[in-house]
Amino acid sequence: MPLVRKNPWKTLQSRVMFAACAACTVLIIGVLGLVTVYLFSIGFGATSWEFFAADPTGNALDPGGMRNAVVGTLILIGLASLIGIPLGLLAGVYLSEYGTERLLPGPVRFVTDVLAGVPSIVVGILGYELLVVPLGNYSGWAGAGALAFIMVPIVARTSEEMFRLVPDSYRQASAALGATRSQTILRVVAPAAAGTVVTGIMLAIARIAGETAPLLFTALGSRFLTTNPSEPFPSLTVQVYTYATGPYPAQRELAWAGILVLISIIFVVNVSIRLVTLRVRRSPA
């Protein structure tokens, strides 16, 4: 058989494969586009100055805004991050850098994977039992704690993976120069992994920003603007859930605006963290 002759069966195979891949890509992007367009077309019209300036009125026909929920969500994300990111990062460092010669890392890794797969409603109930009941009332602290609980395994596992990607030759060079393990981690490994670790952190933030179930049992929600995490605490997701499942058209419309704002917040946080880390990495060490 001459080498240059085409095998029609192989050519067909190749074309079918290409068509399948292209079709799936178009399908996914199409659905994503549809959701975005739909969200914007309804949500954008419902978003007004009042949405950010006013709190809920309690009047179903003239529901006011969601200022309290925007502020509440930002605070909840911030508090949860303050608790969850350090815990997750340190666990990730342990698994990657210290966990090689000890007995603990195997079980820790297993438990972390299990925790990452726990349904968020379970986290909510856990938060109720472990935080709300002992503290005596629904509160922002309990909500932040439940969200942090979701963050830790995500941050731990992604940062472990990213630390592992740092070449071992860096660690050896550093050790040969007389660096202690912690010096090697802080000065060489962590800076080298920083860019990708941030991606994992942002995944975790995006994930908790959209959580509703854990907050229903912990932060509960509130109609009022508050910055005191000891009280029941408002959040966009719970408020959207309440409005969207209610019977009043004005509130449902406001729920659309709430979702749009929530997605925008996640997007802005994402981009700004990326910009900051880029700048830090570019400046001379």
């Binding site: 860096y170 040969a176 120069l177």
Partner: protein, 305 residues
């Protein structure tokens, strides 16, 4: 010679102790091969030349053995490294050259399941004694690796890394040390205008010289070079070899190399190793031109059997 435990090499069960195999003179007729005997697990008494007796030892290994888990990598190595000289470790892959090198600064500690016997003494301090400050030990030795491995930082930060971890903060001190080290490796003129650029943008040869600068910035007592040219092109290799000759005026250097010509060019003493044993050790001129063992001659001339 210490008694060797019974063990399996290949498919063959060998029992110890074995009588040492007498070493045949290099020019003698084909007798029992020393390398065959080693392959069969016999003990071998290294042929160490008298020229080493007059040298002052900076490093001394005494009956040093090392195991990676159950696999034995070094067999009772006894040798000195002469002060102010360049000593080359040669031998086929897997003969334990790099392992021996990494035993001196205890970099093998990073590997799981390493076990040792015997001792290595650096400037009178037994490096494997309990309670030895490993960090301090590593600060007294500089190491350069097979592949250039600059940190993903600026050129300047790479050079002064050892000082930074020692807590040095004075800018003038750091600047001066940086310049001196870079001059010592003949890199200063090439990079003085881009000290704050990433070291990863340099060529392979430049990176390796940077790694040498990084290794000498804290004035170590010995330099351990682990095949420093194996990832470099011939021109860059030549520059590193020139550099090794220059640095030998200030440092004791121990270099592992796969390249026999390189060992001949840069070293004062050469140690030939095979399967974890020291086979022959003497001045480079003797080992290359007048070896005691026929096997050494065959190896250094590339007729390895």
């Amino acid at each position: 010679m210490s008694a060797l435990p019974a063990r399996t090499i290949g498919a063959m069960e060998v029992r110890a102790p074995h009588p040492p195999v007498p070493t045949a003179p290099a020019q003698g007729p084909a007798g029992p091969s020393v390398l065959d005997a080693i392959r069969q697990g016999h003990a071998h008494t290294a042929a160490v030349h008298e020229s080493l007796r007059s040298e002052q030892a900076v490093i001394e290994a005494r009956e040093f053995s090392l195991w990676y888990g159950k696999r034995r990598a070094l067999y009772a190595i006894s040798m000195i490294v002469a002060r102010g000289k360049v000593t080359a470790l040669i031998g086929p892959s897997g003969c334990g050259k790099s392992t021996l090198l990494r035993s001196i600064n205890r970099l093998n500690d990073l590997v799981e399941g390493v076990r040792i016997e015997g001792s290595i003494v650096l400037h009178g301090v037994p490096v494997y004694a309990p309670g030895v400050d490993v960090i301090g030990l590593r600060k007294r030795t500089g190491m350069v690796f097979q592949k250039p491995n600059p940190f993903p930082m600026s050129i300047r930060e790479n050079v002064i890394y050892a000082l930074r971890i020692n807590g040095e903060r004075r800018r003038a001190v750091l600047d001066e040390a940086c310049e001196n080290s870079l001059r010592a490796v003949a890199l200063w003129d090439e990079v003085k205008d881009r000290l704050r650029h990433s070291a990863l943008g340099m060529s392979g040869g430049q990176q390796q010289r940077l790694c040498i600068a990084r290794a000498i910035v804290a004035e170590p007592e010995v330099l351990l070079l682990d095949e420093p040219c194996s990832a470099l092109d011939p021109v860059a290799t030549l520059r590193i070899e020139e550099l090794i000759r220059e640095l030998s005026q200030r440092y004791t250097i121990l270099i592992v190399t796969h390249n026999m010509q390189q060992a001949a060019r840069v070293s004062d003493y050469t140690a030939f190793m095979y399967l974890g044993r020291l086979v022959e050790y003497g001045s480079t001129a003797d080992v290359y031109q007048n070896p005691r063992l026929r096997e050494t001659e065959q190896y250094v001339t590339g007729r390895f059997g």
